[in-house]
């Protein structure tokens, strides 16, 4: 222990956020009398420049060596104040924050109670701060490379930005082609530019970029390490097609014995593909893939005398012996851009999606209106005998969004606009059709959105306010049962076709990513960002960033913006070439360590190892911490029966006085 603690306590008003509930003057007076407290002050905004200056001057003039800031959550401003006291010459870890805003003034109405609680929290902070130790953070080299998981528009954009900045980027895509959901779209709202036209160049870019290593039809299997030094293992699934030999000619697919027999994932099952296939004509890489489940040879072991594809492939690219391969590499940062799943319309059985072929989803409509789609861009329905153009078209919005009955309280943010866009496209193709859109609210918040919505309404698309309760069949017609809530008129609307404006949902397989990268979910089940406002692309895991709809529903411009944001965040450690290792790591007292190895068993980061040391002539086994690997969680120390391993800043001798202070203040 060095000098006797001289503590300064700084109580923030936070405007009236704290001061209106906590009697800060009383707290100040109280804090002044606490043991070892030399100064206690209040100020309107401690985090402001003058507030910080106040602290810095006291440190210099009053010789303070420990600082307690009673203000907002340490999750908010701990870095701010650490930096401030460091600038005044104090070790940045000589700081303790008392959270008297989020966990006091904002949650208690009674001034007396809130004031008492603030006193307690400050007392505990003073008790702890006196015993904090000076820590020095260390720096380690960061691997100048990034991993981007998911190659939809978010992943593509992020990868391109990082690669353009000059860093190696691994872009891992689960499906055979990059492009993601955007590739399936026809036109984009509100500008109506062709989705493929603006996306395809980027897809090509990312495949040809010298800094991008595209790993399509691949999945991330393992991620270890920490920011700056992640160890990644990727499984390259067997395509059964030699990647280097395949020329993408397509002879195999047309000659396949089961050609065009399987629903095409890209066409939402409305089109067909062969067992060997290219997901869509512009797919990148333009390499064929055999779906082992539909391939006769792979699923049954026999395909005629010999597989047709093998016979016709001039390049000799078909290889049924191919196995999954694993590649391992190191990266400094990771961007998660795994996208979303469209809401499964079967979960709203009242809309008859499973029963009536002419009830389709918005994604299906995208394919239907697309020139590259199954109908070549014609909007056609089946009347049971032939394909005809529908006369009466209804859209239903908020299917699977804003709907507690399916567990989705959130708004999917794109459905209002895509239904409007699709109504417009139908109007273009079927000038005489009657189009109506059933809606709860219309949210047209983006740039040019309201104008577009207006335009669509003027194109004789009827907006009917009311959520249909049911769709049933009457003769050849579909009946949409609803109530026009503006006129309180019950409706039974006979139509030829219903488009369900399905919302966006978190991917069904996101659990795997959560486990790999230690990510959490927000209440909407999308990935949780580190802070909803200020750190929207960061996650709780340092060095892992979010882009696109995996973090929450968003439209293309927002997705691209977030992808660029994530890329710039990921570039920070790469560009700097170093990352700072948290100083709050565990430390072993080798004299008292009994060498039982409990900590080694527990450490999730394998940061502890047993080493042999010589203690007065005896060889004994003791635990030792690798500081670069330790994350300071402290799980080891709660299991240590001799208290020999302790996380710095959260040592027993720092926490027990907090407990004592809180307990004593009955």
């Amino acid at each position: 222990m060095t000098a006797k603690p001289k503590v300064g306590v700084y109580i923030c008003h936070c405007g009236i956020n704290i001061a209106s509930t906590v009697d800060v003057e009383t707290v100040e007076e109280y804090a002044q009398k606490l043991p070892n407290v030399k100064v206690a002050r209040t100020y309107s905004y401690m985090c402001s420049e003058p507030g910080q200056v106040l602290i810095k001057e006291d440190i210099k003039e009053q010789g303070l060596n420990r600082i307690v800031v009673a203000s907002c959550s340490p999750r908010m401003h701990e870095p701010t104040f650490r930096k401030a006291i460091q600038e005044a010459g104090l070790n940045p870890y000589f700081l303790e924050m008392a959270n008297i805003r989020e966990q006091c003034s904002w949650v208690h109405e009674d001034t007396g109670e809130a004031t008492e609680k603030a006193k307690k929290l400050i007392t505990a902070s003073v008790a702890k701060v006196r015993l904090l130790e000076a820590l020095e953070s260390k720096e380690v080299d960061a691997e100048p490379a990034a991993l981007v998981i998911g190659a939809g528009i978010a992943g593509i954009q992020a990868a391109l930005d990082i690669a353009d900045a000059g860093f190696k980027t691994y872009l891992v895509e689960k499906t055979p082609s990059v492009g993601g959901r955007m590739a399936q779209l026809d036109k984009t709202f509100p500008t109506l530019d062709c989705s493929a036209c603006i996306l395809t160049p980027k897809m090509v870019d990312c495949a040809s970029h010298p800094n991008i290593e595209l790993l399509s039809y691949s999945e991330v299997e393992e991620v270890g390490g920490y920011i700056g030094n992640f160890d990644v293992k990727v499984r390259k699934k067997a395509r059964y097609v030699d990647f280097d030999k395949c020329t993408g000619c397509g002879d195999c697919a047309s000659e396949c014995r089961v050609a065009d027999r399987f629903p095409s994932e890209f066409d939402q099952g409305m089109g067909k593909r062969s067992a060997i296939y290219l997901p869509f004509p512009q797919a990148v890489p333009a390499k064929y893939t055999i779906d082992p489940e539909s391939c006769l040879y792979l699923s049954r072991g026999k395909c005629g005398k010999s597989p047709k594809c093998q016979e016709v492939c001039g390049a000799g690219a078909i290889n049924f012996e191919q196995e999954d391969e694993f590649v391992e590499f190191k990266v400094g940062a990771i961007i998660v851009a795994t996208g979303f799943d469209p809401f499964d319309a079967s979960r709203k059985p009242e809309y008859g999606y499973d029963d009536y072929p002419n009830v389709i989803t918005g994604m299906e409509m995208e394919r239907l209106v697309s020139a590259s789609g199954p109908t070549g861009g014609k909007v056609l329905i089946s009347n049971g005998e032939e394909e005809i153009e529908p006369k009466e078209v209804a859209f239903i919005k908020c299917v699977g969004s804003r709907d507690e009955s399916v567990g989705n309280e959130y708004c999917s943010r794109v459905c209002c606009m895509y239904t409007a866009k699709q109504a417009h496209l139908i109007r273009e193709k079927l000038p005489d059709a009657n189009i109506r859109i059933y809606y709860m609210d219309v949210r047209a918040f983006g740039k040019g959105y309201e104008e577009f919505y207006d335009r669509v309404r003027r194109e004789n698309v009827r907006y009917i306010r009311g959520n249909p309760s049911e769709i049933f069949k009457r003769g050849n017609k579909l009946v949409v049962k609803a109530e026009d809530t503006l006129t309180s008129t019950p409706l039974e609307d006979e139509v030829d076709m219903v488009v369900l404006g399905v919302g966006l949902e978190p991917r069904a397989d996101m659990r795997k990513m959560m486990d790999l990268l230690r990510l959490s979910q927000s209440p909407d089940r999308f990935f949780l960002e580190a802070h909803p406002k200020l750190r929207p692309v960061d996650t709780a895991t340092d060095g892992v960033f979010l882009a696109g709809c995996c973090q929450g529903p968003k439209d293309i411009p927002d997705t691209v913006a977030q992808a660029k944001g994530a890329a710039s965040s990921a570039l920070i450690p790469l560009a700097r070439g170093k990352v700072t290792i948290d100083a709050q790591v565990a430390e072993v007292n080798e004299t008292t360590c009994r060498g039982c190895g409990f900590c080694v068993e527990i450490c999730p980061y394998s940061a502890i190892e047993m080493v042999t040391v010589n203690q007065f002539g005896h060889e004994v086994e003791v635990a030792r911490v690798n500081e670069a690997l330790c994350k300071g969680c402290g799980s080891c120390s709660a299991a240590c029966l001799s208290d020999s391993i302790q996380p710095k800043s959260f040592r027993d001798r720092q926490i027990l006085p907090q407990i004592a202070a809180l307990g004593a203040m009955k």
Partner: protein, 337 residues
């Protein structure tokens, strides 16, 4: 009025008369664990061997607050020691032990806490008629009816207790209870003599301690210490339950901002007892600690105060979990001389 008879039927009245003072007597339940304050109206029974915890705790509590203070404050508060106490049924060995311990606490510096408590206490002894299996008081200068340290001694004569005042405090006690007592008849002395003799005969264990104090220094490096300490667990049973052990440790204990400085019994058998801040321990193993325990009682104390700091109560033998037997050790010492 120095030898009186108390009919056993009047024992409750006798106890009832001792009001205004804190009464201590061997605890009823709890396996005769210790001396405990007697609740009002309670009549302590005297049909016990001896308590496990010696009555030293009444004058030298296991934990004693020396003063209270406020962290960072001026206020210091000292205890007020003014309540008089009477200990009923103290065995002669335990009373002798207090006399032995007195020497230490009034040695170079007076210990005001201990001495004040001693001053306020009256020891009413009970001579032993049924000594325990491991009693060896007669080998260390005591006896089943020793009165050393007692203010009043009681001897069980069957129907009556014979009460003999030893000190003025004892006299005063007899005076206060005079109406309950009868003058002892002349034959009492004979009866008493007989009982004491019989009792002495019942003491089976003995060791000749004559040469031990002088001989111990020469046995400093003798292998016997390794032998007798090999099985020692290093616990505090022998010392905490010893009536003459008197070591203590002082600590400040804090609750919130209220703090107190207190002393608690310590034991030379504990490893930390001699552990230096540097990590060095001059008594690094159980061997040195066991050697110290015997030397302290049978050598250093004799050297300094001319008395063996062991009264032969047998507690350490009875309660040692691994049969470390001080009589056996002393015999081995004798043999090694």
């Amino acid at each position: 009025m120095s030898a009186m008879l108390l009919n056993k039927e009047k024992w409750p009245d006798f106890v009832g008369r001792l009001t205004g003072k804190k009464l201590w007597a061997p605890q009823a339940g709890g396996d005769g664990m210790r001396f405990a304050p007697v609740a009002e109206g309670e009549v302590p029974a005297l049909d016990y061997g001896n308590t496990r915890v010696p009555p030293k705790q009444a004058v030298f509590p296991q934990t004693e607050t020396l003063f209270r203070f406020q962290v960072d404050g001026e206020k210091v508060e000292e205890p007020k020691l003014e309540e008089e106490a009477v200990l009923l049924g103290v065995r002669p060995c335990d009373a002798r032990a207090m006399v032995i311990v007195d020497k230490l606490f009034s040695w170079d510096e007076d210990d005001p806490y201990y001495l004040k408590r001693r001053e306020l206490v009256t020891l009413v002894g009970l001579a032993c008629t049924e000594p325990g299996l491991n009693c060896f008081c007669t080998s260390v200068g005591g006896g089943p009816a020793s009165t050393e340290g007692l203010d009043l001694v009681m001897i069980d004569l069957g129907e009556n207790y014979l009460l003999e005042a030893i000190t003025e405090k004892g006299q005063a006690l007899l005076a206060e209870t005079e109406d309950l007592l009868e003058e002892a008849k002349d034959d009492v002395a004979e009866q008493k003599e007989k009982i004491i003799n019989e009792s002495e005969q019942k003491i089976k264990r003995s060791v000749n301690t004559e040469d031990i104090p002088g001989g111990l220094p020469g046995l400093w490096e003798d292998p016997l210490w390794q032998r007798v300490s090999a099985s020692c667990l290093g616990c505090g049973t022998c010392t905490f339950l010893c009536p003459t052990c008197h070591c203590f440790d002082i600590q400040d204990e804090t609750e919130g901002f209220d703090s107190r400085r207190c002393r608690s019994w310590d034991s030379c058998m504990f490893a930390e007892y001699t552990l230096h801040t540097s990590g060095h321990n001059p008594r690094p193993s159980r061997r040195e600690r066991t050697r110290n325990r015997i030397n302290h009682k049978y050598n250093y104390y004799v050297d300094k105060f001319d008395v063996i700091a062991c009264v032969g109560c047998g507690r350490c033998i009875n309660l040692c979990p691994v049969n470390i037997d001080i009589v056996d050790i002393l015999k081995q010492v004798e043999e090694a001389l």
